[in-house]
């Protein structure tokens, strides 16, 4: 046991980031370099820790991921302003009504085919599911058309195989629609209120989506079991998970939650990148409702994005890199 007279330690300046008191550990746990003694000043000096805390208050990397950058107004001179006004007139007066019309037509077609199929073909489950899937694909195509979406797909299309899970980055709810129009996926989503919730419980049910409630504690095990069952079934749509758990502003990614990777299946990553010149597709759910977000998309020029279906890395490297 150390006697009070033999307390020696190295000076804290070696490592300003760590609390200097660590140098006082009993011998054997740290390299003791007998320099000067620990002074009261050094003991009381908590400035490095305080600086870190203040630095985190002032700016931190996590919140930066959710910042939606307001577009810089570029229409501020005499020449550009009238052009911009024309643009507004075209967007709100011509494009928007056309898009609403397109969307309305799409919904009419969809509902008039979906409801009969759903009710009449109750007995023939397989056929019904097939038709419902293609119908969901169709309505997604209508949705994408209604924002003049230009989507470029790169990479091999996902095939339907059991024990396969897709993960993608999440910028807005429309990620799902953009992916769905190419291949029918089953998504795991939070149950939303309002008209979105209605859509979720009726139409998306047919594609095999899984719902969860963030606030319910027991929900986790139930949902985990549902996920595992879904992945095992060969006939189910491939499962799509957004492991970030929330919408991020498409500049950074947030650390992935591990649920997707514990399902004992191959993980195939998908990357979605929106082109900001046309519209900022980040849905800041704290600031806008989904309806407002959709309206914003529908009154912009276009939604341009790239979707990359990436190669599956070996499972160990995937876990390590996230």
């Amino acid at each position: 046991m150390d006697t009070p007279g033999n307390l020696k330690t190295s000076i804290s300046e070696l490592d300003l980031d760590r609390p200097n008191i660590e140098d006082y550990l009993p011998s054997g746990t740290s390299i003791q370099e007998p320099l000067d003694k620990l002074s009261l000043r050094d003991l009381l000096d908590i400035s490095p820790t305080l600086t870190e805390a203040a630095g985190a208050i002032v700016d931190d990397s996590f919140t930066r991921c959710f910042k939606s950058n307001p577009p810089e107004p570029w229409n501020w001179n005499v020449y550009l302003f009238p052009l911009w006004c024309c643009g507004v007139v075209i967007r709100y007066g011509i494009l928007f009504p056309v898009r609403v019309l397109v969307l309305a037509i799409g919904w009419i077609i969809f509902l008039s085919s979906y409801i009969p199929v759903h009710l009449l073909l109750k007995g023939h489950d397989k056929l019904r599911k097939k038709i419902e899937r293609s119908l969901v694909e169709v309505i997604c195509m209508f949705f994408v058309a209604s924002w003049t979406g230009v989507v470029k797909y790169h990479g091999p299309r996902p095939s339907r195989r059991p024990k396969q899970v897709f993960v993608a980055n999440h910028t807005s709810m429309i990620d799902f629609i953009v992916l769905e129009q190419m291949t029918p996926f089953a998504v795991i989503m939070q149950k939303h209120p309002g008209w979105v919730g209605l859509l979720q419980s009726t139409i998306l049910e047919s594609v095999g989506c899984i719902w969860f409630h963030r606030s319910e504690a027991k929900d986790r095990e139930i949902v985990a079991k549902k996920l595992r069952d879904h992945v095992q079934g060969a006939d189910n749509n491939p499962l799509l998970i957004f492991p970030e758990g929330t919408c991020v502003n498409n500049h950074y990614t947030v650390m992935f939650k591990k649920g997707a990777f514990e399902l004992d299946s191959t993980v195939c990553p998908i990357a979605i990148k929106y082109n900001k010149i046309f519209v900022d597709a980040f849905w800041n759910s704290r600031k806008q409702s989904f309806t407002t977000h959709l309206l914003q998309l529908m009154t912009s020029w276009a939604v341009v994005c790239d979707v990359w279906y990436l190669e599956t890395p070996k499972s160990e490297t995937w876990r390590d890199s996230h």
């Binding site: 003694k37 908590i46 208050i57 002032v58």
Partner: protein, 209 residues
Amino acid sequence: MYVCMYVCTRTSAIFLYPLHPPVASPISASLPDSMGTASSVLTQYDIEGVQQHCHNLFSQHEIVSLYQRFCQLDRNAKGFISADEFLSVPEFAMNPLSQRLLKMVDGLNFKDFVAFLSAFSAKANMEQKIGLIFHVYDSDRNGKISFNDILEVLQDLSGVFMSNEQREKVLVQVLKEAGYTRESYLMLDDFIKVFGNSGLKMEVEIPVD
């Protein structure tokens, strides 16, 4: 020309974003002589008031930047940042002194928030910085720091790395060498004397776009 620019930026903002309902300015809540306008934009008047309150330790750009950060952390525009909103910043929650700091910053309005951070400005002098450190130690606000106050902070910092006996032994020894006893109380002047003329590096850079 400038009027034209101002009008254009205002109108473009209206077209690009749905109108937000007017939010009561957190500055108006704290400045008794403000105009009480319901806007979420800082006026020049507000900025000057805040600057005065923090003894001109921040520039006007920095205050605007801090305001954006304040609004970002204060999610429901209450006019102050609550404890759990502070804790939602992972880098803050991980800090060993976060609980002590929370007691100091919880519920502060913008003016006091800036005043708190002003000790971290590059322009702050030693006394202001030492003053902040003193307040972190003096959690019961009685103007003096006891043996136990220092011990508690050491506990926060060293956690499981040291036992209580080790901490006490270290503290008794170090205090003795500096001329204090276990029963002494340290006032702010003692603190200033202890820190002496050695520089204190406690600065935070406010990101200004």
